[in-house]
Structures are given as structure tokens and as C-alpha cells.
């Protein structure tokens, strides 16, 4: 018996890998959302934040590679487990099969997963690589000059006057085509559903869930997913409804125009 062999070789081991990588990814998507909600504030915030992340260099790459590995393991484990489970079900399907109590979210994990994966790929192409919607990509937009210092933990990391990429405008412009915003809305809806089952499940898989508090856990998970969903809907929603536009951004930042 060895630890790595058990984790990668056994069904429970692979479930544990899914749970742990899932936990990492949940941490990422929540952090990502919280960071991006700065779009509702002065453009300095999001742009300074983006510039700061870019400036981390090797640390950024460690984070990116870790996330890639987590995604890869998550998908690999899901694929292997799914194939095994399909095989386990046997060649002859039931003539009639009813669900007894499985939740909707749990029944569509694979499908929500597919859409989320497609979305991530587009999202990366859109905002990170600029291969999609390149006309509004941050690198093609005029540079943005920081109006104020941007602080992290009290330290000034991006001083006022620095010319940085205009991520804030890119986000707003990027969501203006209704098709893009629509796809985004669909994806975050499905991602929230994916998280609804996934967040609950990881406690079960890691052995931290029991019926004494599973109801409370469920409530917390539902609230977290709702909050996550609301936060994610807010950005393209605000863009689509015109609440968030380059003009409104300009209004919220009078200092930058004087």
C-alpha cells in the first residue's frame, strides 16, 4: 500500500483527489469573483489589482500552474471514475429506473462540468489571451493612468500615475455583446449548480459530513452558491442593463478626468 498509489489507483483515492482539487478551484473562483467585483468601484481598483497580479511574475506562474494541475486532475479523475462507473452499471440497462432522492445538481454534474470547461476555455481566450473579441482586449485598449495609489495590506503596490492595462474597460466592453453576456450567464448558472453538489460532496468525500450537521452544511452551501451566483450575475447584468458602462465608470471617477 502506498499513499500515492491509493490516491490515484483506488476509487476512493480518486474521489479524494476530486474533492481536494475541487476545494482549490472553489477557492480560486471565489477569490476571482471577489477581485473582479472591484469593477463596481473606481477603475483604479480593478486596474491596479490586475497590474499588481501581473507584477507578481514567478508567483503568478506558480499559481497558474497549480490551478492548471488542479483542473487537470479534477477532469482526469472525473473521466476515469465516470468511465468505471459506466462499466460497473453493466451492459443491460434498466427498463425503468426512477430517482429516489438524488438532487438535480447531482444528476447533471457531468453536463454542468462540460459547459463550465467550455466556458473556462472561452473565458481564458477572452480575457487572458485576447484571442476572442480581440478588439476589446486590454492590450489593444489605450493604457490607463492610475489616479490613486493601489494598496494591498497597507502597502502601496501600484503608485498613482502608473500607466497600466485598462482591464476595467475591457470587462465592461467585453460583456456588451448580449451573446457573450448570455453565455457567461448560462455558464455561471451551471457553475453554481456544479458547486452546489460539489461543495456538499467534498465534505462527504473527505469524511467531514454527517447527519448531525448535514442540514446546516447544506444551508451554508446553498447560501454560498446563491451568493456566488448573484456576484457573478451582477457584472454582466450591470453591463447589459447599462448600469455599468464606460461612461458610468467615468462618472464614478471624476478625479481621473480633471
Amino acid at each position: 500500500m502506498n499513499l500515492v498509489g491509493n490516491l490515484f489507483g483506488s476509487s476512493i483515492g480518486r474521489k479524494i483527489l476530486m474533492a481536494v482539487t475541487g476545494l482549490v478551484l472553489i477557492g480560486f473562483v471565489i477569490g476571482h469573483l471577489v477581485g473582479n467585483l472591484q469593477v463596481f468601484s473606481h477603475p483604479d481598483k480593478l486596474n491596479g489589482y490586475a497590474h499588481f497580479l501581473q507584477s507578481l511574475g514567478p508567483v503568478l506562474w506558480v499559481a497558474r500552474i497549480s490551478l492548471l494541475i488542479a483542473v487537470a486532475i479534477h477532469i482526469w479523475a472525473a473521466t476515469v471514475l465516470t468511465l468505471e462507473s459506466k462499466r460497473a452499471r453493466g451492459a443491460q440497462a434498466y427498463g425503468v429506473k426512477t430517482w429516489i432522492q438524488a438532487t438535480l445538481a447531482s444528476r447533471y454534474m457531468r453536463w454542468t462540468g462540460y459547459v463550465v470547461l467550455a466556458f473556462i476555455l472561452y473565458h481564458l481566450a477572452h480575457f487572458t489571451l485576447g484571442t476572442a473579441q480581440s478588439s476589446t482586449y486590454k492590450a489593444t485598449l489605450p493604457a490607463y493612468k492610475m489616479a490613486h495609489d493601489y494598496h494591498v495590506l497597507g502597502f502601496t503596490v501600484v503608485p498613482a500615475g502608473t500607466e497600466v492595462l485598462d482591464v476595467h474597460s475591457m470587462v465592461i466592453l467585453g460583456f456588451q455583446p448580449p451573446l457573450v453576456a448570455g453565455f457567461y450567464l448560462l455558464a455561471v448558472t451551471l457553475l453554481s449548480l456544479h458547486l452546489l453538489h460539489g461543495m456538499d460532496s467534498l465534505f462527504q468525500t473527505l469524511g467531514w459530513r454527517n447527519s448531525r450537521w448535514s442540514q446546516s452544511l447544506r444551508s451554508v452551501v446553498i447560501l454560498a452558491c446563491l451568493a456566488y451566483f448573484a456576484g457573478n450575475v451582477a457584472i454582466p447584468g450591470a453591463v447589459l442593463t447599462g448600469k455599468l458602462s464606460p461612461e458610468s465608470a467615468a462618472k464614478s471617477a471624476p478625479a481621473a478626468h480633471h
Binding site: 500500500m1 476512493i12 453493466g90 465534505f203
Partner: protein, 270 residues
């Protein structure tokens, strides 16, 4: 008081999976079941239908059954898409015909899973469960070597929880209900029962690693935490035991990774 329902009978159509043998191709066949009393058990209804089939020269439907009081775990039909039929916390043999209505078509199939091949009609081979048990589902205690039963006090809560897990009747409904044909509820009930008791500690790591390994080898699927298993379980065994086994498995794997390797010397006889 005699229930009014005993006075009237009704008729249903059985759509039964017929399969001559493990290698044969099966198919659904419809049989009428007439003059059914609501007080009949589902299996008694099958008895009646079988006697009629026999009289007509048709081979009766093979189905597994024994105690007919919900404790031996032999009976195993999937009725209208649910293992053990519509009731909650009961086995097929405790399902009564009053759960159905006149004119219903009742679809009856075997428990299906690759690890449970069909033997004939509704009978499946569940020897895989025995194999899992043989790989570690025990506490080694030779007859005659046991200390006094009260030498080892066990907190009532632990004993009760162990009993909750130990109630498993080994019917396989959990596997049949699971979309992945996973045996996690069965294995975790055994691992939980023995692992909760102080007597079971010596073999705790070994047991969970061996039983999970055998479970995987025999071709059961994995758990996707939908809990159809515990909902279909005739003893309503909680999926909490699955969480517990997951933790046990991880702990055992971690511990085995950091345990010093045993020295390669023989006993002390040198």
C-alpha cells in the same frame, strides 16, 4: 377489525424480465395477474402467477427469496424502477399488493450491475459481496481465545452506532439503486460496524484498505454522493458511514505511508 380491502381483489399486468441463463439475452414479457388480494405480499403474488404459469406449461419466473420477513437479504427485485419496490425501509418481501392499483402495469427486473450478473430471470449472483467480506470484513478472534465479554467496556453511543451499521442485510439494493453500481454503502456499513468497536481497531487500517481494494477489483463503481443507496436500503443505513469510510481510507493510506517498514527477519526462533 378486518380491513375492507380484504374483500375485493384486483388485477395487474406484470412486465417481467425473463432471461434463461447468464449468457442468454433477456426480454420483458407481460403476464396478467388476476384476482390479486391487496393483503398478498408481492412475492405471494409471484407464487400465484408462477402456479398459473406452471399449469399452462410455461416455466415459472425464477426469483430469489427466503425468509419473507425482511431480514435475510435474499429477495432482490427492482419494481417499477426502484429496488425492493415502492416502500421505504422495507424489502421486496415486505411489499404488499395494496401498494398497487387495479390495472397497473408493474415492471419487475433483476438488480442490475456488472458485478451482479443475472443467473436467471430475476435472480442475480451477489457473490461479490461475500468476496469483499472475505478480504477483510472480520475481526480475527479464534474460538476459545476471547477475554471476558465485559472486560472491554464500549460506550453505548459507539455500540449503538455500530449496530446501526451492522443492520445491513447484504441484499445489494444499494448497488442496484446507484447509477454507478457502487458498493460503497455496503462496504462502509461493514467497515463502520467493525471500525467503531474497540475490538476492531487492530485490523482497522488493514480492513478498510483491503475491502476497498476488493470492491474496486470486482468492478463496482464509485460514489457520486447522490445517496440513492441509503434511500433504497431496506434498513435505511445512513450514508454517513460512507463519509466515515472515506476518512478511514485516507487515514489508513496516510498511516501506511509513514509506518516504518517491517524488518525482514524471521521470528525469534533463530
Amino acid at each position: 377489525m378486518v380491513a375492507a380491502s380484504t374483500l375485493k381483489t384486483f388485477s395487474v399486468t406484470l412486465r417481467v424480465w425473463r432471461q434463461a441463463g447468464p449468457a442468454a439475452t433477456g426480454a420483458f414479457v407481460d403476464y396478467p395477474a388476476k384476482d390479486i388480494s391487496p393483503d398478498m405480499s408481492f412475492l405471494e403474488m409471484l407464487d400465484v402467477v408462477n402456479d398459473e404459469l406452471t399449469a399452462k406449461g410455461i416455466e415459472p419466473i425464477a426469483f430469489a427469496h427466503d425468509c419473507r420477513e425482511g431480514i435475510c437479504g435474499t429477495c432482490s427485485c427492482t419494481i417499477n424502477g426502484k429496488p425492493h419496490g415502492p416502500g421505504k425501509g422495507i424489502a421486496t418481501c415486505q411489499t404488499y399488493m395494496r401498494s398497487f392499483n387495479d390495472g397497473d402495469t408493474i415492471v419487475v427486473e433483476p438488480f442490475r450491475a456488472r458485478a451482479f450478473p443475472v443467473v436467471k430471470d430475476l435472480v442475480t449472483d451477489r457473490a461479490a459481496f461475500d468476496k469483499i467480506q472475505q478480504s477483510g470484513g472480520f475481526i480475527t478472534a479464534r474460538a476459545g481465545s476471547a477475554p471476558d465479554a465485559n472486560a472491554l467496556p464500549i460506550p453505548k453511543g459507539d455500540a449503538d452506532l455500530a449496530m446501526d451499521a451492522a443492520q445491513c442485510i447484504g441484499c445489494g439494493a444499494c448497488v442496484a439503486a446507484c447509477k454507478n453500481a457502487s458498493a460503497m454503502l455496503f462496504v462502509s456499513a461493514k467497515v463502520g460496524h467493525l471500525g467503531l468497536l474497540p475490538q476492531g481497531q487492530a485490523e482497522r487500517d488493514r480492513r478498510v484498505l483491503a475491502m476497498v481494494n476488493t470492491m474496486d477489483t470486482l468492478g463496482f463503481g464509485s460514489c457520486t454522493n447522490q445517496y440513492e443507496c441509503s434511500a433504497a436500503c431496506p434498513k435505511l443505513i445512513s450514508h454517513d458511514f460512507i463519509a466515515r469510510m472515506n476518512r478511514d481510507y485516507l487515514t489508513a493510506s496516510l498511516r501506511s505511508a509513514f509506518k516504518p517498514a517491517p524488518a525482514n527477519t524471521g521470528g525469534g526462533a533463530a
